[in-house]
Subunit: 325 residues, 2 copies
């Protein structure tokens, strides 16, 4: 009832999750809402503030009192020192947008902002697969590929908070174009959009053309789940697509191992569900490319928290700003 | 005369540099000797101990008294917690060799060991190009490619001290073989051995065949300096070789930028002298592949300390074990 708690808000391209998280990392309350990501810059921020204020109100009515901190995770690289979003893949209007200042004005309280992959990494570190580990590489394989790095028990932010863009290491200099403007990035293979591109390429389709019914959802969008189901049935296109994605995922992971000598590589996000179909080619590349001594010290595991990871980590970011230096 | 000081010893494939370094980072005394790297495991260690004891003796005779600490840098990944060398490119006999224990027994004092690229990174951080910077990627382009990472003002060691193998990130999955057993590593392009391979490939020579006289030294070994001189004269083979190396160096640096969001990328080692011939293709890849906001915050500069970097950094490692966590 009167446990100390923090707000953890996780904004995705479509939905917002907003939770009251206890200082022990338990989700006390959870509310959902739309992201309204295609609106004007100020409207998107106002929507975040409205949902935060709604949660604060709910919490107050239920006798939880005031939060100790407010942590807000949004997509895309942002400058954590100034709280400015540099660019956000799903919010076109946020380019150099002073998110933290505006949220603090609208909410009337101090706010900590960080990017969604960093928040999720903190969540896994606090309550998930990376608990108690000091050197961890975390990869989210979703619509794109995000990353979070924990080195010596601290989240790596770099000069201004944009570190950890692990989806945008080059795994094949001659590879397919990536949404970031480069080509041959990890994201161009091991994300939902990368897999879609591989399938289109395989079928000789132009980008955006209608896909076979087995691999689209009810709204005709490409479905990783559908492609996985096809792989489970032994479909060759699906199996080969995942094999290619796994191959390049393994190349990237081998580089991360040689760079970080981590204890753990944690893989989450929607595409992680297809790891069984990627693991063989992934492991082959990891073993061929990473130093044996480094390889033997690192485990590659699935994320433990699922969609809760973001809100738990965002709350942690609010509660433990020092961890984030 | 009575300034506090530490031993900094830097062992390369051919030579050992052993210095008395003041707590302010000034080299007070410097001695040189052979590495004897092809000898038996114990003999190589004994040689290090002998040179250290010789320096201690010289220092004592000159009135400097005893050192505060002894820091020793050796090539190859090593487990800094146990002081065990996992494998060393130039010392075949060191495989799982308990170097620190043996040195402490032979020298009769506590010793800190680290790898040479890490020591050099600490040197540049303490007294060189990276002074006062908190987020730095350091690359040594020598016979091979080594790396040192400073994140949030601390050297990154990873789980057991093997982090920072930046020469062994994959920059081209279909690239030439690398001495580490993989292929398409950065080292296979942007090191002396990588450049030699590119030249051989270009000339249709088998590995190890005699090379044109302009690009070998007096002992008929491949000479980066010779290749640079050829490039300066406008020789097409030399210019194209450096352009290829720069291209892949740029791909790697772009990945490091997106991973670390550093303030600085510092490039040292013998091959760094040829940067003018690599810079154009390097910069093109960095700009094409790294996030613009990250790119605009990072400078790419030459190392400042040269060969002194290793001994200065080794001494620092001895004096500041906390920095190394």
């Amino acid at each position: 009832m009167t446990r100390a708690w923090a707000v953890g808000l996780d904004m995705g391209g479509t939905n917002i999750r907003c939770a009251a998280v206890s200082v022990a990392g338990d989700v006390i309350l959870m509310e959902h809402g739309p992201s309204l990501a295609s609106r004007k810059a100020g409207d998107v921020a106002e929507n975040i503030a409205t949902q935060t204020l709604h949660l604060l109100d709910t919490a107050r009515r239920r006798g939880h009192g005031s939060p100790r901190a407010i942590g807000i995770a949004v997509p895309g690289p942002l400058d954590v020192q100034t709280g400015t979003v540099m660019q956000a893949p799903h919010v076109a209007a946020w380019r150099g947008y002073p998110l933290r200042n505006n949220l603090e004005r609208l909410i009337g309280r101090k706010v900590v902002v960080d990017n969604d992959a960093n928040a999720w990494a903190l969540g896994e570190y606090w309550r998930g697969a990376a608990r108690g580990r000091r050197d961890v590489v975390l990869l989210t394989l979703g619509t794109g590929v995000g990353g979070g790095l924990i080195v010596g028990g601290k989240l790596v932010h770099g000069r201004s908070g944009m570190a950890g863009e692990l989806g945008h290491v080059t795994v094949n200099p001659d590879g397919p174009p990536c949404d970031c403007g480069s080509h041959g990035c990890l994201e161009a293979y091991a994300s939902a959009s990368g897999l879609r591109g591989l399938v289109e390429n395989r079928l000789g389709l132009r980008p955006g053309s209608p896909l076979p019914l087995q691999i689209v959802d009810s709204e005709k969008n490409f479905s990783v789940r559908g492609l996985s189901a096809q792989a489970r049935r032994g479909d060759r296109l699906a199996l080969e697509t995942f094999a290619i994605a796994g191959h390049y995922l393994g190349i990237a992971i081998a580089s991360f191992l040689n760079i970080f000598n981590p204890e753990l590589v944690v893989i989450g996000g929607g595409v992680a569900g297809a790891l069984p179909y990627m693991r063989k080619t992934m492991t082959a590349q990891v073993k061929a490319r990473a130093f044996t001594a480094i390889c033997s010290q690192a485990k590659i595991v699935r994320a433990a928290l699922g969609p809760r990871g973001g809100v738990v980590g965002a709350a942690y970011a609010g509660l433990h700003p020092v961890m984030r230096s």
